[in-house]
């Protein structure tokens, strides 16, 4: 392997710093819950939740790319790992969340009474 003998220690600590900062920001936002974000609605959930999701994906990117060292693998391996995951996860989230929302609407507006 071409990269076998060089040390990546500096990169590792930089990534650790990035992950720590992101986690701290997430927790701070989760505790403070600023009204401007918490009550703002965007695509079926609050703006704050979207920020959490995006920050999580950024964290996932750094873990997979730097720690799991996907950045050093061939393009073919990278794509065969990332592409199916991205596609299938978006797909299952789409169908399940839309279905969940639909069932909610049926419970709320339909003839069935469930919440006594």
């Amino acid at each position: 392997m071409a990269h076998a003998h060089e040390s990546n220690t500096k990169r590792i600590w930089v990534v650790f710093a990035i992950l720590s900062v992101i986690t701290t920001v997430e927790v701070a936002l989760g505790i403070v819950k600023p009204d401007a974000l918490f009550r703002a609605h965007f695509l079926s959930t609050s703006l704050l939740n979207w920020i959490f999701i995006i920050l999580t994906i950024v964290k996932a990117y750094y873990i997979v790319w730097a720690f799991m060292h996907l950045e050093g693998e061939t393009k073919g391996l990278r794509w065969s790992i990332v592409a199916p995951l991205v596609f299938l996860i978006l797909y299952i989230c789409f169908i399940l969340l839309v279905e969940g929302d639909y069932v909610y609407e049926v419970y709320k507006t339909g003839q069935i009474k469930w919440n006594f």
Partner: protein
């Protein structure tokens, strides 16, 4: 990487050669496993999302549930503890990747040292999770379940949660625990709650400043009922719920505890497996197995698994505690 540069790496050749994707057989299979396991976890989290969207107006608010921190009794510390757990796992990921890095430089002592730190981190995480489960199972305030399956919690006039023992009336009644041998069709029950339904209802009547908080969320907050509405809802009380189990929990919707136990439990099982694998590899490093093999690729492979466990936790953390 490529077919030309690995000729000095005999182990890689034994492992099935570099192949079209530039990875050895073992590494490929680890990635194969990780992709399928990632899809399993996605399925669980998506199912959680499904149930949550289905009961979007009634779901428990996570940062009201996880408010404990060691040595801070009675101080509400929402999410500090899970944040700490996240840091522990991220840090053990860092020591793991440092071990892999030391392996590339064939420094046996350093690899062993970092592997050791990673194992310690794994154990700390598992211990933290056990503590988290203990608090979740034990509960804090207690609640009432109605005939229809709703959870009624109690608050004072300012909306602050009130625990059952603060207002329940102790009455001269004795309820005998139902055991299988006395049961109708061999039904039994686990430990009895500290108060009977009657004691809670009578206590509620005697304390005019306690109100019922329903599960319903309106404008991001749980609805607190008026005194009259509260008494009306309490008329259909059937159970006193303390803490959580797989059937009912005091935090709200039944599925909430089920998903909590299942998803964090499955993740904890992965962490445990990872610690075991790390220990095996740690001993192999100490024994010099990889030194003889002139390749520390096994460390890299368990490293992949360990980072994956960390990756899953990042998502569990977001979807269970933050969102």
């Amino acid at each position: 990487m490529g077919a030309t540069v690995t000729s000095h790496d005999e182990h890689a050749l034994l492992d099935g050669g570099p192949g079209p994707l530039g990875a050895t057989y073992g590494k490929m299979m680890m990635w194969f496993f990780i992709v399928s396991d990632a899809l399993t976890f996605s399925g669980f989290l998506a199912a959680y999302g499904f149930s949550r969207f289905k009961f979007i107006e009634n779901w428990p608010i996570a940062d009201e549930v996880f408010t404990h921190f060691p040595f801070l009794h009675g101080v509400p510390a929402p999410m500090y503890y899970v944040a700490l757990m996240t840091f522990i796992l991220i840090f053990s990921s860092v020591t793991m990747v440092l071990a892999v890095d030391a392996g590339h430089q064939m420094k046996k002592g350093k690899v062993a040292f970092y592997m050791f730190l990673t194992i310690i981190g794994g154990f700390i995480f598992l211990g933290s999770q056990a503590w988290e489960w203990k608090n979740f199972i034990k509960g804090e305030y207690g609640a009432i379940e109605t005939k229809g399956g709703s959870i009624l919690q109690f608050v004072d006039k300012d909306g602050k949660r009130v625990a059952l023992h603060e207002f329940a009336k102790v009455m001269p009644e004795d309820r005998v625990q139902l055991t299988r041998d006395k049961g109708f069709w061999f039904t039994g029950e686990s430990a009895l709650p500290s108060y009977s339904v009657n004691e809670v209802v009578e206590g509620f009547k005697a304390h005019p400043n306690v109100l019922v908080r329903s599960e319903q969320i309106v404008d991001k907050e749980k609805v607190v009922l008026s005194r009259e509405e509260s008494l009306e809802r309490l008329a259909s009380a059937v159970y006193v719920v303390e803490g959580a189990n797989l059937i009912r929990n005091e935090y709200g919707h039944k599925l909430f505890a089920d998903f909590f136990f299942f998803i964090t439990g499955f993740h904890g099982f992965h962490v445990f497996t990872g610690v075991i694998l790390n220990i095996i590899i740690f001993f192999n490093v100490i024994l010099g197995t990889y030194e003889k093999r002139k390749s520390y690729e096994m460390v890299e492979k368990v490293g992949l698994y360990w980072h994956f466990v960390d990756l899953v936790w990042v998502f569990v953390f977001t979807f269970f505690y933050l969102v």
